[in-house]
Amino acid sequence: MLKKRIIPCLDIKNGRTVKGINFKELADAGDPVELAKRYVDEGADELVFLDITATLENRKTLTNLVTRIASEINIPFTVGGGINTLEDAKMIIDSGADKISLNSAAILRPELISEIALTFGNQCVVLAIDTKFVNEEWLVFRSGGTIITDFKAIDWARKGAELGAGEILLTSMNNDGTKNGFAIEICKAVSEAVSIPVIASGGAGMMEHFAEVFSQTNVTAALAASVFHFGQIPIPELKNYLKTKKIPVRI
């Protein structure tokens, strides 16, 4: 049976992970590769690396990092942040990433999704959607959640899938950072609206939240950052818990 995926997300700045990390035995917790290896050992199903600086001068640092990750990690990984052109995507994929994640650039120029999908295949393109419930509507934001658009999350997800995205990474800005659980309503709506996998993101605080999003919606993966980084939810414990809740996971 196909398993539900657990995906830790690592924020990268100038080639280093940001946010405090409390994996004590790591010699250098700021090194994304060391942290990534730790997650692989713990049973993470995939990894997402988000370059939060994403400036031109950091591109070389990022591609060097991607090359290092690819040489040491034997599970699929996605790289996102500041991918604006087919050339940007090519640089990251040629360095060894399995998938790239698009956000603002796809909103500004949706054809970018098709260009990358036609070149590298749909499975390489993850459309990241940051959405917030405003005026009774789940609207899409861009530029790291700073700029509101008139896109509706469900419509944009459908459009993205039509254009060739292979997966949707759906982040609820209302839930992100709250630790109050995933946004069940929009996760359910989007995962029922498209026939490609949807990854739920934003709001994980307890193991129960993962069980809730997997049992109440059609999402096939859940992503979180701080609960994993700070060791609040160890991945092996989470997977064992989900198994007792009859949710299929890879142990």
């Binding site: 196909l2 034997n74 599970i75 060894g96 749909n122 499975q123």
Partner: protein, 192 residues
């Protein structure tokens, strides 16, 4: 030396990394002489069947692959190219395995993306691996079950997760992206 076939499809780099981690010398190449004399040959692949076949034909690699007598491992698209026919681009493929590659009916999410286990596993590739272990799949087309099927996975319908005939081995999943289980499968192949 392990030759990894260079052609217009992705993920050769991931395969190279995995083989290197296992301590085997390797090379990504489309040089016919290098491929013929390699100890083993791996055909990786993420891409589209039609254009991949055209590329192999242009380079004369189609006949070379068919003539190989050392162990050969096709991965994902690399496996599908070893079958007879693919619905992807209605492509005549290499015909090593007597089975066809069809598109998944859209009853569930396609591509089949993620970790899945097996209902049947047999043969040298899977020594020491049990059916509850999981490997990483990402594909929209599948090979039908046939006499050469050595692993079956169920998604929408049961399909060939691996094939074997004489010196030809193939997996639909990506051993190079399947964590520790994948490493053991690759190691089984490299130790043949």
């Amino acid at each position: 030396m392990i030759a990894i076939l260079k052609y217009n499809a992705g993920n050769a780099l991931s395969v190279e990394n995995a083989v290197l981690r296992l301590g085997f010398p390797t090379m990504i190449t489309d040089d016919i002489e290098v491929i013929k004399s390699a100890e083993k040959v791996i055909i990786p692949g993420v891409g589209e069947a039609g254009s991949a076949m055209n590329y192999l034909k242009e380079k004369g690699l189609d006949e070379v692959i068919k003539s190989l007598t050392q162990p050969v491992l096709g991965i994902c698209l690399g496996m599908q190219l070893l079958c007879e026919f693919s619905e992807e681009g209605a492509t005549e493929t290499l015909g090593i395995f007597k089975t066809n590659v069809l598109k998944f009916p859209p009853q569930e999410l396609v591509p089949h993306t993620g970790w899945n286990d097996f209902t049947i596993l047999k043969g040298k590739l899977f020594e020491g691996i049990n059916t509850e272990e999981n490997c990483y799949f990402v594909h929209s087309f599948y090979a039908e079950i046939c006499d050469e099927t050595v692993a079956i996975t169920d998604y929408i319908l049961p399909f060939s997760a691996a094939l074997q005939k004489d010196n030809f081995y193939a997996t639909q999943f990506h051993p190079e992206k399947s964590a520790e289980t994948g490493i053991r499968i690759l190691k089984n192949f490299l130790s043949l």
